[in-house]
């Protein structure tokens, strides 16, 4: 999903930077607010950032014969709502743009919009809808984490199609072409990432139960000796 340095025309690069900037600024404020009001959140915030750091560094093979990397932005969006991931995701992208020549500064806005804004929001929406439909925490985590991954790559395809519409088939043709490169390869990766998210939350439900209850992901269990119902 990294659009390489210089590969978006200047006006597109500028447009996406302007579009992503308010989300990142709002995200930075959300992180500061969370840490200030709930210092005990710092640990899980670190875990959410660390999860996206690991997953976005690992390129995995896919059924299409190409490889791609997961995003890891889902768990943070589910735990702390999407704004915090706008900051954490952009930090990851900045690291990769500066040190790894992966992505770039001119395309940072577009990449942040796909990776740190659309991905987390799509994942969070999928999580909420699945929970709202009556599913438990873990199935909803799977849906949210997998969709955050997939939505990022669909957004990248759309950004490229907008910048490089096909000479004959126009925007739709270009979108299909880029989706063909990104989206199909990404499906098994998204499923794998969803399963990793489930593994992570299985550990958290046991070891970070107070945090998950405070964040509203789990209902508090009536403490022993309380009235049975």
């Amino acid at each position: 999903m990294h659009i390489a340095e210089g590969f978006l025309p200047a006006e597109h690069a500028l447009g996406w930077t302007i579009a992503a900037a308010p989300f990142v600024v709002h995200g930075a404020r959300a992180v500061v607010k969370e840490v200030r009001e709930n210092p005990e959140s710092t640990l899980l915030l670190g875990a959410a950032g660390a999860f996206t750091f690991v997953l976005s560094a690992i390129k995995l093979p896919s059924v299409t014969g190409s490889s791609s990397h997961p995003t890891g932005t889902g768990p943070g969006a589910i735990l702390f709502r999407p704004p915090v991931m706008a900051l954490l995701g952009t930090v990851v992208l900045l690291f990769q743009a500066l040190l790894l020549a992966h992505g770039g500064l001119t395309t940072l806005g577009a990449n942040a919009f796909a990776f740190a804004v659309v991905g987390p929001w799509a994942g969070y929406a999928a999580y909420r809808l699945t929970r709202g439909a009556g599913a438990g925490l873990l199935p909803a985590v799977f849906a949210g984490v997998a969709l955050a991954d997939l939505a990022t790559y669909v957004t990248t395809s759309l950004q490229l199609a907008l910048a490089f519409p096909d000479a004959e088939s126009g925007l739709a043709g270009a979108l299909l072409k880029f989706l063909g490169v990104f989206a199909v390869t990404q499906v098994p990766l998204a499923i794998g990432e969803g399963l990793l998210g489930v593994l992570l939350f299985r550990v958290l439900t046991v070891n970070a139960r107070p945090e998950l209850e405070r964040l509203g992901l789990l209902k508090p269990v009536p403490v022993a000796a309380g009235g049975a119902a």
Binding site: H2, I3, A4, E5, G6, F7, A10, L43, L44, G46, A47, G49, A50, F51, T52, F53, V54, L55, A57, I58, K59, L60, P61, S62, V63, G65, S66, S67, S68, Q96, A97, L98, L99, L100, A101, H102, G104, L105, L160, F164, F178, V181, F182, T185, P188, I191, G192, L195, L196, L199, R202, V203, L204, T205, V206, N207, R209, V221, V223, A224
Partner: protein, 102 residues
């Protein structure tokens, strides 16, 4: 083996299989090039020239090292937090929550 451990093992196995099976079935015919690079190659073939170059482009081996560093930093912090949370739970005996844990 408790049911919980079994489910964890199966989940891990599923993740490994998901990426190992395509590799094995493929039998070494695919290059497994990155999708990001595939797109830039396609655009360059269509005549697009990037208007800015990366400030710093690490050579191949250095690049894989830096990717490994990124993964290591993430995995280190994640392991630290999960270990700390687990230690905290074992240190507080009377937390009755978390049914079915070991």
């Amino acid at each position: 083996m408790t049911r919980r451990t079994l489910v964890t093992a199966l989940l891990v196995l599923a993740v490994v299989a998901l990426f190992a099976v395509p590799l094995l079935l493929d039998g070494g015919t695919s290059e497994y090039g990155g999708t990001d690079a595939a797109v830039t190659e396609e655009l360059e073939a269509d005549g697009y020239t990037p208007w800015v170059d990366s400030l710093f482009s690490p050579a191949g081996e250095v690049e894989s090292g830096l990717f490994a560093l990124q993964a290591a930093l993430g995995a280190g912090v994640l392991g630290y937090v999960l270990g700390l949370l687990r230690g905290r739970r074992s240190a507080t005996p009377a937390v009755a929550a978390g049914a079915g844990d070991r």
